[in-house]
Symmetry: C2
Subunit: 540 residues, 2 copies
């Protein structure tokens, strides 16, 4: 039996950019658009041409996509023709195959926010949509505040929708702009709209997460007959965010009744890239990915409770609703003082270390972990440091080298040209075998600007490790996360460092200290030691 087509419309680059603290560059927008296209999204809304320079530049240089590139704008202002509205002109001049125009459908907004008559508003909608359709664009109408408008005056809200529909809009998008409408109401009102004569295969749904129901409300609209879902990657968006496509996509592909009732542009193969796409967006935003994110979060398939972990070892389906691999995510048996020995053995096995059950050293490792977690360490996210800790307890960690001392200086002062400049310098003394090595390094990059004390330290440390130099030459620090695990002046700092080598192996290490330089140094040392262990380097 032929499946019904469901369309996915992404607005990460427009509504997503309304997120507090989010501002995309043109290059970043191109990168995100490519990722959305690889997923198989139907429409990519790139922004509002003319509203700000970035968006205009982006449309000029937008990538070629299978997805229908869409420019966002608003219906023409009153007192001028669609042809003579410069804002609308800027949107059309972007030259995209599709345009999405937001307009009012809530009488209160027409009078309170726009300050025009109800009739003028209907006229603006009809004329603007007709104008875009005449220009040969696939035209969408975003019915702003639709659900609030329908509750206040269903007759007028419907007149607005019909105006857009009769003018030839391909999609009429019901927007819950303020995000306060609950799923049951979204479903009921969508049914009422369809009953009033707008076919479901011309209806889209656009929800916000202000009651934490954006995903459920989108599903309710689909259940009622709507066939387009608007949302964003990672649920980015104004206030509490938009409907999260990262959660909706796997649900539509994997869960009933959707899986056997609808088809989308996203293939099972593309679905494997979902976790990567989600993490890419966080990388671009320099955000720590939300561990608890459905499907794609680092904790989404993490089994901390001892009972769960032991059952998982027998059969993963006991505590997993899907196989993490389907969305490109993975199972995690986090190390923590909650965990039982079965977690520990599973995690050691993952590191290639076999320890028989009931081995007394398992209890000792758990105690050490508990003690260190009390100090602020976190091994959930730092598998490499966990592995080193375990190897130490198990007597499987060679002494590669010893750090005798280090000194870092950060100085800010006027330079000769009387400009304030900052410089950092690090001295590290390590002992390898019998030999003592003293290295010094500044922290200037090519541009001659200071990269700070941690950079100076890592350079000094990597400068001369004698017999191990070849092992660390292809190592690079790819990420550096700092968490203050106690607020205020008593702050204890936790540093997590992600390292990568030439073959693309990636590993995470942790350091903890009230002194951020010290914490960083500890994580750096672990990173190098782990590399030496995995290269099978022989202790000098």
């Amino acid at each position: 039996m032929k499946l019904d087509r469901l369309y996915l419309y992404d607005t990460t680059l427009r509504d997503g950019q309304q997120t507090q603290g989010v501002q995309f560059s043109v290059a970043e927008k191109r990168q995100i658009a490519a990722a959305l296209d690889a997923l198989g999204i139907d429409h990519i809304e790139g922004g509002w041409p003319g509203a700000n320079p970035t968006d205009s530049d982006f449309f000029d240089s937008r990538p070629d996509t299978k997805a229908t590139f869409t420019a966002f704008g608003m219906t023409k202002r009153a007192g001028r023709s669609a042809e003579n509205d410069d804002v609308l002109a800027a949107v059309l001049n972007a030259g995209t195959p599709a345009v999405c125009l937001v307009g009012k459908t809530y009488d209160f907004h027409v009078t309170a926010a726009l300050g025009i008559t109800l009739e003028e508003n209907v006229e603006n909608i009809a004329a603007s949509i007709a104008h875009c359709v005449a220009k040969g664009r696939e035209t969408l109408f975003d019915a702003e505040h639709f659900f609030d408008g329908w509750r206040a005056d269903p007759a007028y809200a419907l007149v607005c929708l019909k105006a857009a529909y009769d003018a030839g809009a391909r999609w009429i998008v019901l927007c819950d702009t303020n995000g306060g409408t609950l799923p049951a109401d979204v479903g009921r009102i969508t049914e009422e709209v369809i009953a009033a004569g707008i076919p479901g295969d011309r209806l889209g749904i656009h929800t916000h997460n202000d009651t934490e129901n954006a995903v459920a409300a989108s599903l309710a609209a689909v259940d009622a007959g709507a066939r387009q879902i608007q949302g964003t990657l990672n649920g980015l968006g104004e206030r509490c965010g938009n409907a999260n496509l990262t959660s909706l996509i796997p649900t539509l592909l994997l869960k009933e009744p959707y899986a056997s009732r609808y088809e989308t542009g996203v293939t099972r193969a593309a679905l494997k890239g979902l976790t990567r796409a989600s993490r890419l967006l966080d990388d671009i935003l320099n955000r720590v990915p939300l561990r608890s994110a459905p499907y794609v979060g680092a904790s989404a398939f993490a089994h901390k409770a001892g009972l769960h972990a032991s059952a998982i070892l027998k059969d993963p389906t006991t505590y997993e609703h899907i196989d993490p691999g389907i969305v490109g995510n993975e199972r995690v048996i986090p190390m923590s003082n909650q965990a039982g020995q079965s977690n520990l053995r599973a995690r050691l096995a993952a590191a290639g270390i076999k320890v028989p059950a009931k081995d007394a050293r398992l209890a000792r490792i758990l105690e050490t972990i508990k003690a260190r977690e009390d100090m602020g360490y976190a091994y959930d996210g730092a598998q490499a440091s966990f592995e080193l800790l375990a190897r130490r307890e198990l007597g499987l960690l060679p002494d590669f080298f010893e750090v005798k001392r280090y000194r870092v200086t950060v100085e800010r002062r006027k330079n000769r040209r009387d400009r304030m400049v900052t410089m950092s310098e690090a001295v590290v003394v390590v002992k390898i075998g019998g030999e003592k090595m003293l290295s010094v390094s500044e922290s200037m990059d090519e541009a001659g600007s200071d990269r700070g004390p941690v950079n100076a330290l890592s350079k000094a440390l990597a400068k001369d490790l004698g017999p191990y130099q070849a092992n660390i030459d292809d190592m690079k620090l790819v990420d550096f996360k700092v968490r203050i695990t106690q607020g205020g002046t008593e702050a204890v700092t936790r540093v997590i460092i992600d390292s990568e080598d030439g073959e693309g192996h990636r590993w995470s290490t942790v350091g903890v200290s009230p002194n951020i330089v010290d914490a960083s140094f500890e994580a750096l040392l672990d990173a190098i030691t782990w590399k030496l262990v995995h290269d099978g380097a022989a202790p000098a």
Copy 2:
């Protein structure tokens, strides 16, 4: 008309503790329990007595609460009587008025995970519940994997529920343990259970957020007739978390049909404490609160889009689904390069700075903000630094003092007793009026342990500010957040510092630099300067 009573059951201290990276101390559990009690939660589940030392200690020293204190455990194991099951005994020995026992209702789990017969499992449920009821406890039965079990074998799942019900369980809690059941199915199955003879006012719902539908699924169960909701503050919990009470509570109190159909233990007055309770939990967890959190997030009522902001200024209801004050949150007009001049003027007004519309300096301030945000600054969260930036542009910022130079040294080496120790020292030279002041400080706390370079700097800076000493003496650094705004070695560091004075005023400042010490220093300077401005200190 008499309202139906809905009961709220909190499991933050038990299921919430299953969150990756979360481990509560006894003191923290007491603090959270008190906050939950102040909100008006009906049941507080404190943990699993006997499962780990912390939980056992907590029950021994638990606070007095209006809420029904509940101990969690599991049904007795096969092959022994309830009286002789030591695990069950430990739960009862906690001496709580209520106990909640988890048990299996899914045939696959009975055989695969427990490895006992289906009959034995039913016997374990009945005997365990009866035993707790006989001991005079309010007894709850957590039907683990109930929805999966019902789909696989509704007859057996029902037999398990009936066993608990007939044995006298006050509440039968339907658990979607793996979190994969969608709201529509939760609603339908809950109706079927009620139709099968378990009254709705004896049914609870326990969902997880693995498809981002935990809140919606809880509402669906209530719509179907269930009368207890289990969840956690901030949606803490295993994997993707539990149903988020922080989102559910305001929805139940403020949204229809719930507001006029049900009553809960949470009063409108207590609801004002919701945001504080949510932030308290994050403080305890040393987590940065989720800005986009529904109702309580810092961005939940932030209006970034220029169009939204200008409408909000006319009438807040245009873009807000509720009044933020009702949940103890507040409206934010964040500063950002997306914002129009109306945002800017509103935010300046909030800082007590009146600037006429269309004033040319407004555009200049916006440009400066854009330029600095491109460098990595973020003024959304740093109102005090935003205010100083604006005052500088407006010529409203006196020159209080000038920093001529500073130097910080961090050194790690062996001390006399041959132990590795770290020490930090800072020298700061400031010029006030004509006078030059040189201050030096170490970063040792009372315990004589090093608190790091930033601590040393802030101490040296605060040591002698001559005429301003009185202004800064009551200042303290209450929080310190570090964000790497570019990964890898090219990392640029953003530091946000929260400061507080004697009257409890709190303000946030930001500093950005590739050098974390420098970034911290910049934020420290802003914090002091803001205090001097607001004290109306006269420039020396």
